[in-house]
């Protein structure tokens, strides 16, 4: 399996992201691995309209990004203060992460166009993004540029990596 894109936030259109191959992995931290065209992926970036928003205060915000080719399910965790997952990290760091997550959650409103980055994960078999970063886009041409970026990267980089490195 090709690893050169593993730590890159790959720009994928929703229909492409939702058709990634999911494989069970022996790793306890990443029980499912994701690949596209033989390349192992772990992070993704998407841009689109927020079309659903489900907030569980102090737990998570689940929302949907519609980029016109499909919908991407996103989860933004808001439980950093209470979660044992963060108990080994320094309290100031955890507070900072929690503050950022709360700000992102407030910015994600129905109808806004958001650029979301995060880890590719799976929930009930459906590919989703576990969000680490959110930028609200106000320029109405940004979505088009994202489509063109995705097309160019797929054709020039993502589609050819396995063949050039095998």
């Amino acid at each position: 399996m090709e690893h050169s894109l593993y730590n890159t936030h790959v720009k994928l259109l929703a229909f492409d992201l939702n058709s990634l191959t999911q494989t069970s992995s022996s790793s306890s931290s990443d029980p499912i691995s994701f690949s596209r065209n033989g390349a192992l992926l772990s992070r993704a970036e998407t841009v689109g309209t927020v079309t659903s928003r489900d907030l569980k205060p102090n737990k998570f915000l689940r929302f949907t990004i519609d980029d016109g080719t499909g919908c991407v399910s996103c989860i933004l965790w808001l439980n950093q203060i209470s979660s044992p997952y963060f108990s080994r990290r320094s309290p100031p760091d955890v507070r900072l992460i929690a503050q950022h997550a709360l700000r992102f959650a407030a910015e994600i409103k129905l109808g806004v166009v958001a650029r979301v980055r995060g880890k590719i994960t799976s929930y009930r078999g459906v590919t989703q993004i576990t969000v680490s970063d959110v930028v609200i886009e106000r320029d109405p041409n940004v979505e088009m540029l994202h489509w063109l970026d995705c097309i160019r990267l797929a054709r020039k980089v993502y589609n050819i990596i396995p063949h050039s490195n095998k």
Binding site: D16, T49, S52, T69, G111, M144, I151, Y158
Partner: protein, 156 residues
């Protein structure tokens, strides 16, 4: 709410929405873009027009449409792109303010009426003034070609 419950609004131009188009289907989820124009008023319709807004709140008049008198209130805007136009039902977009001549993008489901006229039941809407519509149309063609190529040869 899982993404599987939300249908993506397929990117279409108003030119795509002719009766023989694959997008012209009852309940189709679509994303449309166009400039807002004044909506024509039919005789017997009552109209309240807040200053600078073009969301018209019609009360269907008795006998005109066959509906019960004064029982249905809608909020219809019309968008145009070139010579094409489409009615948008904006009743679920109460927080969106409209300006005549501005460009808006709507996501929603197509309702095809018995007379074959389509109205998009919008669930999302935003002002996209500043959008380059020529670039939008060209990008859309490239995107459709890319999706068609991908379907022929999936990259999974």
């Amino acid at each position: 709410m899982a993404s599987s419950e939300i249908t993506s609004g397929a990117l279409v131009t108003l030119q795509d929405l002719h009766p023989s188009s694959p997008y012209f289907k009852q309940g189709a989820s679509l994303r449309v873009t166009g400039k807002t124009r004044e909506t024509f008023l039919s005789q017997g319709h009552y109209c309240r027009v807040p200053v600078s807004l073009i969301t018209y709140h019609f009360t269907q008049a008795k006998g005109k449409s066959g509906l019960h008198d004064y029982s249905v209130e809608t909020a219809i805007a019309t968008i145009v792109d070139g010579s094409e136009r489409l009615k948008i039902n904006t009743q679920h977009l109460r927080e969106l303010s409209f300006r005549v001549g501005s460009i808006y993008q709507f996501i929603g489901e197509l309702l095809i009426q018995p007379d074959n006229e389509a109205v998009l039941q919008a669930r999302m809407g935003r002002n996209v003034d500043g959008i380059d519509l020529n670039l939008y149309h060209q990008s859309l063609q490239l995107l459709r070609q890319f999706q068609a190529d991908h379907l022929k040869k999936p990259a999974t």
